[in-house]
Structures are given as C-alpha cells and as structure tokens.
C-alpha cells in the first residue's frame, strides 16, 4: 500500500479544488470533533484523517460518527462505505445535541452567497419577496454555523457570490459585526475563514470582517479584489497558500479516484 502511495505522489500537479480541499483539511487539528458537511468537506475530512489528524472524529448529520476513513471511495456521506464499521449509527437529533452542547470543534459548510461578515445564503438569491433563484436551503448548515465552536466556509470566489450583504441569512456568520452573535443569543462560534478557489479570507477578531490573509499560487491580489463585492480589507501580512504535498495529493486521488469532486 505504502509503495503505491509513493508512486502516485510523484505526480505533483494539482487542481484548484484539490488546493481548496487541502487548505480545509489542514484546519482540522488532531483529535478534533469535526462536523462534516456535504460535498468538498467530505474529502477534506478524509484527507485530514489520513494525514495529520488520525484521531479526529467525523460527525455526519444523517446520523453517522466515524473515527476511521471510509474503506472505499464515496460521493456522499450516505454511501454505504461511509456507514461500514462506523463508530456510531444513530439519530440526527443525537448529533445535533453534540452541536448544541458545544462539543463540535469545527464544521465545514459551502455557500452560494457570502458577505463580509461571513453570513451565508443558500436559500434565496434576491430574498424571499422577489425570489431570483431558489437554492436548496440550509440542510444542517444553519445549525453548524450557529453552534460549532468555529466553522469554515468553502466556496467559489465570484463577485456575484461575495456580496456586501447577503439577500437572506441561511447560516449566521457575524451578522452586522462584532457583538451580533451574542446579541441574537447564539451561544458560541462563528465563521473563522472562507476558503475559495483564489485565496483565503479570515475573520478579523476586532471587526469580525472577512479579510484577505492568503493568496493561492498564480493568483493576484487584484484578481481577488475584482471578484469580491465589498471593499476587501487586507491582513497585515498576506501569505501564499501552501500547495498540497505529494502525500496529500495521493490521498485525494485515492478518495476521489474519478475526480468527481476535485477535477
């Protein structure tokens, strides 16, 4: 097994999606309880679990807890390999209890529209009165954004998606800034970062605004600014996002052999 991995790892090309997933995976610390969202986060968790965070626990909203990676490739959390030898198969409500108790360290969610305070819209482009596009809705995203100790947003960086104020808050970020979560009664948490195909924004601890902290290889600041719908603030020090290493790429190819999620 080991030798196969080494061989695959020699191919060091990577796709922007692989970079995003890798950046997400690196945010998971070992032994953390991770609430794994749909799609890209599925891969992010598998990657972290099989590299630097072997003792992380994955919690999946449909009633699954895993402490080992699924034995086969999966396209979604309900694929039977993701149930195989799970640590726990149970009610969604039990896992929501973990969230509400504050036992979930980090959660990952995608979004269609995000604003500078990290509020997410996955319900109504145009708002509820003048619906332009109806999106699928919250699923567990609102719960993860409300209740995890921190959450990470993964999405495509486009001006129409990065708006000053979302049309509808499906998943609360920092509302209108510092102090808002406490004011509305949310017990903890907030979005700590947005990982995009161009770079990484992090929540400023003072203003709670999402500011640019890292740029992916080959991308310019100007490109990011042009694709952001608000006047993007810059962190004091902006880094270059590290590329996936060979082990990470090998793992990504193992978990997504057809490139369904990352090509």
């Amino acid at each position: 097994m080991k030798s196969t991995i080494t061989k695959q790892a020699e191919i060091s090309d990577y796709t922007p999606l692989q970079l995003m997933v890798t950046a997400a995976a690196r945010e998971i610390a070992n032994k953390e309880i991770v609430f794994v969202g749909m799609r890209l986060p599925l891969l992010g968790f598998l990657l972290a679990k099989s590299t630097h965070a072997p003792d992380a626990i994955g919690v999946y909203e449909l009633g699954i807890v895993r402490d080992t990676p699924a034995p086969g490739s999966i396209l979604t959390m309900g694929d039977l390999p993701n149930l195989f030898c799970a640590q726990w198969l149970t009610d969604t409500a039990d896992l929501m209890g973990l969230l509400q108790q504050g036992r979930v360290d980090v959660a990952f969610i995608g979004g269609a529209q995000v604003d500078r305070f990290g509020n997410l819209n996955t319900s109504y482009v145009g708002g509820t009165k003048k619906i332009k596009t109806r999106l699928p809705g919250s699923g567990g995203a609102c719960d993860l954004a409300s209740l995890a100790k921190r959450h990470i947003i993964i999405m495509t960086h486009e001006k129409r998606r990065f708006v000053p104020r979302v049309d509808y808050i499906t998943s609360p970020g920092y509302g209108d800034g510092q102090g808002w979560r406490e004011r509305v009664g949310l017990p903890r948490g907030g979005p700590c970062m947005v990982i995009t195909n161009l770079g990484i924004l992090r929540s400023d601890p003072g203003t709670r605004e999402m500011v640019l902290t890292s740029i992916h290889p080959g991308v310019t600041v100007e490109e990011i600014v042009a694709n952001t719908g608000w006047r993007l603030c810059m962190a004091p020090k902006i880094t270059r996002t590290p590329i996936p290493d060979d082990t990470e790429l090998a793992m990504l190819r193992r978990f997504d052999p057809q490139g369904y999620w990352t090509s």
Binding site: E61, M96, L99, P136, V184
Partner: protein, 303 residues
Amino acid sequence: MPASKLFTMFEAISRFVQNGSAVALGTAQETLIPFAAGHELIRQRKRDLTLIGTISDILFDQLIGGGCVRKVQAAWVGNVITGSSYNFRRAIENGNTEIEDHSNLTMSMSLRAAAMGVPFMPARTALGSDLFKSNARLKTITCPFTGDTLTAVAAIRPDVTIIHTQRADEQGNAHMWGNMGITREACLAGEYVIIIAEEIVPTDTIRSDPNRVVIPGFRVCAVVHAPWGGHPSPVPGCYNRDHQSFIDYRTASRTPESFADWKAFWIDNVKDRVDYLNRVGKNRMDRLKIKHHLRSAPADFGC
C-alpha cells in the same frame, strides 16, 4: 395474532394518503428513501400534499415535478451529489409551491415535539438567521430558568409517515438499520405509519431483536413488500447507492419537457415492481449489490 396489515403499494397509498395529506418521507436523508412509495403517489396523482423531511435527496423534486405538492416543510431540497433540483426551483420561483424553511435541527425538533406530544421544542439554532422570516413555526423565547434566548420550534404532526426498511412482519413490526436520520421521531409523530419493506419475514425474526424495531406494529397501519423499493438510494444490507441515476436525473429534470420524458419512463409507464427492475436492468442491480457482507454480532434476548 392480530390481522395482517400487508397491502399492495397501490392499496396502501390509495387508502392512507389523501389529497391534501401532510406526508413525511425520506427521513434517513440519503439512505432508505422510499422512492417506490413516492412514485406511487405520483402515479395515483395525489394532489396538494405537504411534504415533510430534512433532506430527501431527489424524491421531493420528483413529487413536485409530478404535480403532487402544495407545500414543502424541509431543510434542503436538491440532488445530494449534483446540487440544485430543478422542479423545486421552478415551483418556488413561480410561486406554485409554498416552502417552510427549516434546518435539520429545527425539523428534527418539530417532529420530536409531535413525537413527545408537546406543542414545541426549544433549540439554540438559527438565532439571528432569516429562517424566522420564512418559517412561522419558529419564535424566540426566553428560558424560564436561565434567561437565555432560545428558538422555540412548533410541532409538526404528519398525517402519514412513510419509511423504507429492510424487513418487517405482516403486522408492521419493522427492523431498520443504518443511519437513522429523523426516522424515529417521524414515525412516532405520524398519525398513520406506512412501512415499505425489502423483505417480509416471520414475526419470530423481528421478535428476536426488539431493540432493532424502529416502530412497533401497533403504531403501523400498512406494510408493503417492495424489493429494491429504495432504489436509487442506498439501503444498508441490501444495495449500494446508484450514483448514475442521480446524475441522469439532474440532466433529465433541467426542463419540464425532459422531466416529463423521465417521468413517463420511470413512473407513469411502469406497470409493476418487476417492470421497474427490468428497466433498472440486471447488470446495474448486480453492480449495486452488497459485495463485502458484514453480519452483526448476535445479541442474546433469552431468559
């Protein structure tokens, strides 16, 4: 032994689901989705249904496309591996279908409130979100003990809960395994409960493990035998997820016209279960079958 509750799919659906019924289905979210039952609802042209669920993959989209739905109470309506679902989008954007926007947590609490026989459940989710704008079942309240602001979620009582399970006896005692989603609370909350089962087994089989009973027979009105009735969703112990069907459906549902073709082939013109399985095809079914069996360690329920 009480009388058998075994019905054909046609009988169970026509007898227990009325036009205007509120129906919970797809309660395990991605697994064990009762597609066969949903297709029967479409075939029987049920109208003005309210659909209740958290995430029911593409089943809700099919029912909306089938013209069965007046209202959706759900957390997420889409195609899990491809994203948006088009009938749903069209119906909401055109104002033809009403939506009550839930999160997974608010929906599970709505059903748990009904399951427990109380009018609401408290939660800590969604505070500050706009779910409060498009869901009249959410209100903020103050905890009488701590003074905390909480979300009160009003109960939802389905007229009918339909679940897909691995095996049941003729009295409706059903074993289900895998991730449970909101199945337990949906069954306890439902006025009528319909069990769709991969296999009808002797009562002794069910009685050998009363802990695996998802809902006891006395709370069940009908049992339907429908092998592969969860296809294309995965059913633990029976078959894997048929990803290609979901990808094909994404394409087919893009326009009302192509959806009509899809519906004609997969629903309207399907004579019976055998016909459906012929359309899936033996090769595909073989590919989906469980390859690595893993049998549960026995538990002794003796005395």
